[in-house]
């Protein structure tokens, strides 16, 4: 498949990239590793006449124990022993993204900003045309929830939940300067598969920053997928626990692969602080979280199964991190 012609721009700095973005407003996409964008372009999904490649912007590179540049390849994160030791949940999530070949090109920034997915959307042009296009590309209705004028495409990135559970921050640069925010604030929590991000058009993800406290957390990530390689998450549960199992200071849960954005469940996990993380208390939280999530039928596994597995995976993931040795008396 050849790509339709576009003009490629190769700025060397964030400022140059932002300037280009200003002139090409609405007519461009940023290009990082291309492992998400180029398949969509090959399928004629939402093409733009310009691509601004971030490959040469050196500020976006590099991984250390408290920062990951947005253009860092997933493979580089995987190969960083410091980072894997400091944040096991992030290391687990990275190792489970796609395949080693995709991770050689795919970046951290691209993973956070991955286009939402739906099996009526990630299809070739003739496929989509024969069924009738949908809201997310070229059309005016939704095939998943036909009575609503809204898109339910699923957020399928593995890193965002792992980072959100550790309360990591993302640094973005835009026309009006730089700002930092919690990773989960990158996303539109109103739940819209099209207007999926909170970013202002043209904004660039510069880096992930870990707060000092993230190093003290025990963290883990559990992913549900059909094949243990290649497949996107049908559910991805990240957990982090600070402090002793008998009286944790704080517990965080973040879940991806179910809705249009990765979601944290602080209202449920705050109740876990200060008292032993027994099986019974973990189960109560797992059930409460499961009651809140609303997957729809637009990925491979049916939503009812993904919901039931949410309960199981929340229990499993929390059990893995509740104590330094992974277990506590029930």
């Amino acid at each position: 498949m050849h790509l339709d012609p576009f003009e490629l721009h190769e700025p060397a700095t964030v400022e140059e990239a932002l300037e280009l973005a200003g002139t090409l407003s609405g007519k461009f996409d940023y290009l990082a590793g291309g492992t998400d964008l180029l398949p969509n372009y090959k399928m004629h999904i939402n093409l733009r006449p310009h691509l601004i490649s971030l490959e040469r912007v050196s500020e976006l590179r590099g991984v250390s124990s408290n920062r990951i540049g947005a253009m860092t390849r997933l493979a580089e994160v995987e190969e960083s022993p410091d980072l894997s030791r400091a944040y096991p949940g992030v290391a687990e999530a990275v190792r489970e993204v796609a395949t080693p070949l995709v991770r050689a090109s795919g970046t951290v920034g691209g993973n956070l900003l991955l286009e939402t997915r739906c099996f009526f959307f990630n299809q070739t042009y003739p496929w989509r045309q024969s069924l009738g296009f949908c809201l997310k590309a070229d059309g005016d209705r939704c095939h998943v929830v036909p009575q609503k004028e809204r898109c339910y495409a699923t957020f399928s990135g593995d890193l965002a939940p792992a980072l959100a559970a550790l309360e990591a921050e993302v640094e973005v640069a835009g026309p009006s300067g730089r700002r930092r925010m919690p990773v989960e604030h990158l996303y539109n929590a109103a739940g819209d598969g099209i207007l999926r991000l909170s970013l202002v058009p043209g904004e660039i993800v510069v880096a992930i920053h870990f707060p000092e406290s993230a190093r003290r957390a025990r963290s883990a990530y559990t992913k549900l997928r059909v094949r243990p390689s290649f497949d996107f998450p049908e559910l991805g549960v990240a957990a982090a626990v600070w402090g002793a199992a008998e009286a944790p200071e704080k517990v965080r849960l973040a879940i991806g692969g179910l809705e249009t954005y990765p979601r944290r469940f602080d209202e449920d996990t705050d109740a876990l602080a200060g008292a032993p993380l027994t099986d019974a208390r973990v189960r109560t939280v797992a059930e409460a979280v499961t009651r809140r999530v609303r997957p729809v039928h637009n990925t491979f596994l049916p939503p009812d199964y993904r919901r039931r597995m949410t309960e199981v995976f929340v229990r499993r993931t929390l059990s893995r991190v509740r104590a330094p040795n992974g277990s506590v008396a029930a």
């Binding site: 790509l3 291309g34 492992t35 398949p39 399928m43 395949t99 080693p100 070949l101 090109s105 390689s229």
Partner: protein, 155 residues
């Protein structure tokens, strides 16, 4: 339509040519350079048949712009094959029956060559993990893993 000069090295030879911005590396190799050992399978990142080495690292040429090869070294299956005979990994694939229709084989060979360069004596698990982005519809993988292990001196 925008084009610009590309300066790269392909299988040890310097290459300079004007390439359209939207040109994909796989198309440059197969269609412009006639290096058809690199296969087009899915064209979407889901099979590994198009694997080449970019500065030594296994890379999906179907999801890489030709521009990304600027100033870098591209190695295809043609570059791995010696003028006479076969590369040790190729020989092991033949001897161990790790190739049937052969369509996936160039990708597996390049992935394996890079693995064995970085980890000369990989374990079975390391081999399985390294090739987990390459699909084969014929062999069932056992023979492929055995071939790579044989080159690394394991079984």
């Amino acid at each position: 339509m925008a084009s610009r000069p590309l300066r790269t090295r392909v299988n040890g030879t310097a290459l300079e040519r004007t390439v359209p911005d939207e040109r994909i590396l796989l198309d440059l190799l197969r269609e412009d350079l006639r290096l058809t050992g690199t296969k087009r399978g899915c064209d979407l990142g889901t099979c590994g048949c198009c694997t080449v080495l970019l500065d030594g690292r296994p890379t999906l040429s179907c999801l890489t712009l030709a521009r990304s090869a600027e100033g870098r070294e591209v190695t295809t299956i043609e570059g791995v094959t010696p003028a006479e005979g076969l590369h040790p990994v190729q020989r092991a694939f033949v001897e161990r029956g790790a190739t049937q229709c052969g369509f996936c084989t160039p990708g597996f060979i390049l992935t394996s060559v890079a693995l064995l360069r970085d980890h000369p004596h990989p374990s079975r698990e390391e081999v399985a993990r390294a090739i987990s982005g390459n699909l084969c519809r014929c062999t069932g993988y056992t023979k492929i893993i055995e071939a790579v292990l044989a080159v690394g001196g394991g079984k």
